[in-house]
Amino acid sequence: MNDPALIRRTRERVRWGVTYAILLGFAALTLIPFVWLVCASIKRADVFFQYQFLPLGDGFLGIDWQALTLTYYRELFTGANFNFGRSILNSIFYASTTATLSTLFCAMGGYALAKFHFKGRDGIASLVLGCLIIPGSLLLAPSYQLLYHLGLLDSFAGLILPSLAPAFGIYLFRQSMINAVPSELLEAARIDGCGEWRIFFTVVLPLVRPMIGAFLLITYLGCWNNFIGPQIIIQTPEKYPLAVEIAQLKGLYSINYGMLMAGTLISVAPVMVLFLFLQKEFIAGLTSGAVKG
């Protein structure tokens, strides 16, 4: 027992054991609410609080399959006072169009700031940085008033237009293009007689593919989960995105837990799926703004 190599190996094993124990513990804590959410959305009302996850019973695998139900999902899509199918469409529209357009415009803006020399470039770059620190809550009231004067209240345009070219996106694309787009390539393309737009779409954009994927998802996520904006601006129920629709459900059906959880699951699942496709780019893009190189 005095063999130093053995002591070292044992210490190593203990260290790895503790490490994995901690990680697995946290992973479990992180995932349990998701599992709970899925179970909660299909449990019958009478067994809802009896069992935290799936109701136990005499069925296959010791689970009482009879106590599970899909009525909540049915109710959400076909019930008289619900617009869930419509809300999903609204959310998809709002999130995907904003993501697409803002990615395009931010790529354009970032490109200009990264690869061109022109009067006012540094001024605009500082402007972009300054915008990052303006709190969104400051703009809530005056934006509402502006949209009222423009006649854009209670419309998708009112939601989408203000967020078409966020400074955050310009910043990310600028960072990304400074590194990924070599100026020589641009020079070469120009010498070949390529128009600027063609250069942008065929040379520049392919070089920042990861950032495109990342920013698309970042924006999509932001819009999908946005609550306070739509809550203030959208007043027609048929235009509610999911976040607003679900909050309203909570007010009227506060004790119909299964339905609330089914609605939440529907709202949460699509983004998870998208994320699984784009996770590497997403995380890389997200952290690129902070970590240099």
Partner: protein, 451 residues
């Protein structure tokens, strides 16, 4: 251009969803829209609405109800009034919602001013006058009231009568405590007389209004720090704290509270008509054990009822066809069938006086041990106190409730549980509540400039 599948999926979604929104546009609602905030109310209206829809086959005159939660209803109405977003043809409005609608200039109130019509058509004679008071702002009436909401005292008749107590001998709160106190020693331990508690501002409001106090006068000036209010708060504190405590915390709509009721640990409860309806639905286990009696008065000969809550039916100014909406409003709220149905389903008595003689209210109610509960409430209906439509009422209630809580702490920390001694301190706490509300009211440039 090569993009990852994730990116393509977002781009595809953008295109597909745009197409979908174009192909499935939002269908405009035909006919009249009627917003309400409660599923129960909606259920109650359905027979009346069906009748109307059958006798008005024109699609433009068909009524459709939309059940929206209280908060979204309030928000959408306000947005509609002030920012031009869609408004309904008719809407229910709850008393807790009106504050925002009356906090601006009078001409900005989004509901149609019905005062003249109500006088012309004699509705002010048909309907209990006090019922208009929460919806009357700066002299103008903005809706048709849906209720009267008198308050009685519900008590455990089985226990009280078994002890040989005759409740008709009780005239004042002092009588009440004197006569009922022996019941507090129950066979299984301590019982309590009531569930009034500082965390329930509603009961506090009931007692304040019963005593002749309240929050605002008819000119909408705050009267929070009146002697009457001070006396009521001081008395409440002696009920909920100290050696002569008669109350326990048994909240409504709560499993804990229900348990205490069912086990006879709380003997009485302040019971507006709508709450009686709720109990009948949610606490069937109390059926046949309860009875109703008028509230014990604060002084001999004093008021034996109170009022709390309420709903009105209003027509937004921007509703396209006012005459049609008004015709339906009268049809619904002035229909004897609805009055009967409302009482049968949710225990609420109608504000329309000529329906008060309807035999439905004399039916023995098995829940209340065979008493004709409707008749008992109607007997109190003409005496229900007036209220105001001040936009600062919700904040005033909170301010006075805070004063009550501070008073209770004072009593407990100085061991003072004598009403006369507490009254002076109550006055002090209410003075600060009054100051808070006065400050808030002064801060409203729209109201103070028209004062």
């Amino acid at each position: 251009m090569q993009l990852s599948p994730g990116s393509w999926s977002i781009l595809t979604l953008a295109v597909l969803s745009s197409i979908a929104l174009y192909v499935f546009p939002i269908k405009p609602h035909s006919g009249e829209s009627f917003w309400t905030f409660s599923l129960d109310l909606d259920l109650m209206y359905q027979p009346g609405i069906k009748g109307w829809n059958e006798s008005h086959p024109d699609p433009a005159e068909q009524i459709t109800t939309y059940v929206i939660g209280t908060d979204p209803l309030s928000r959408r109405l306000q947005s509609g009034f002030l920012s031009g977003t869609p408004v309904p043809d008719l809407t229910d409005v709850e008393s807790s919602m009106v504050a925002n609608f009356f906090s601006g200039p009078l001409d900005a109130v989004g509901f149609t001013d019905l005062t003249d019509l109500i006088h012309q058509e004699g509705l002010d004679k048909k309907i209990n006058p006090a019922s208009f008071s929460p919806w009357t702002n700066r002299g103008r009436i903005f809706g048709l009231p849906h209720d009267v909401h008198p308050v009685l005292l519900a008590y455990r008749a089985d226990i009280v009568e078994a002890a040989g107590i005759d409740v008709s001998k009780i005239e004042t709160w002092d009588d009440f405590i004197r006569v009922m106190s022996p019941l507090m020693q129950g066979p299984e331990g301590q019982r309590f007389l009531m569930n009034v508690w500082e965390t329930n501002p509603r009961d506090m409001e009931v007692l304040l209004l019963q005593a002749g106090g309240g929050f605002f006068d008819q000119d909408l000036k705050p009267i929070l720090n009146s002697e009457v209010n001070a006396r009521v708060l001081a008395t409440i504190v002696t009920w909920i704290a100290g050696p002569k405590r008669i109350c326990v915390n048994a909240p409504d709509f709560d499993a804990e509270g229900n348990y205490l009721y069912l086990h006879g640990e709380v003997l009485c409860s302040l019971m507006p008509d709508w709450l009686a309806g709720v109990w009948m639905k949610d606490l069937p286990g109390m059926s046949g054990k309860m009875k109703l009696m008028p509230l014990p008065a604060w002084d001999k000969g004093g008021l034996r009822t109170s009022v709390v809550g309420g709903t009105m039916l209003a027509i937004p100014k921007r509703a396209p066809n006012f005459q049609r909406s008004w015709a339906f409003a009268k049809y619904l709220y002035l229909s004897p069938e609805l009055a009967r149905d409302m009482y049968r389903r949710v225990g609420i008595i109608t504000p329309v006086r000529e329906f008060w003689s309807d035999p439905v209210f004399d039916q023995p109610n098995p829940y209340f041990s065979g008493q004709a509960s409707g008749r008992l409430y109607i007997q109190m209906a003409p005496y229900v106190p007036m209220r105001t439509s001040s936009p600062y009422k919700p904040q005033a209630v909170i301010a006075v409730n805070d004063a009550l809580i501070r008073l209770k702490h004072f009593a407990e920390s100085t061991n003072t549980f004598d009403v006369a001694a507490l009254q002076a301190q109550a006055r002090i706490e209410l003075d600060s509540a009054q100051a808070v509300i006065q400050r808030k009211m002064a801060a409203n440039a729209f109201l103070s400039s028209t004062q």
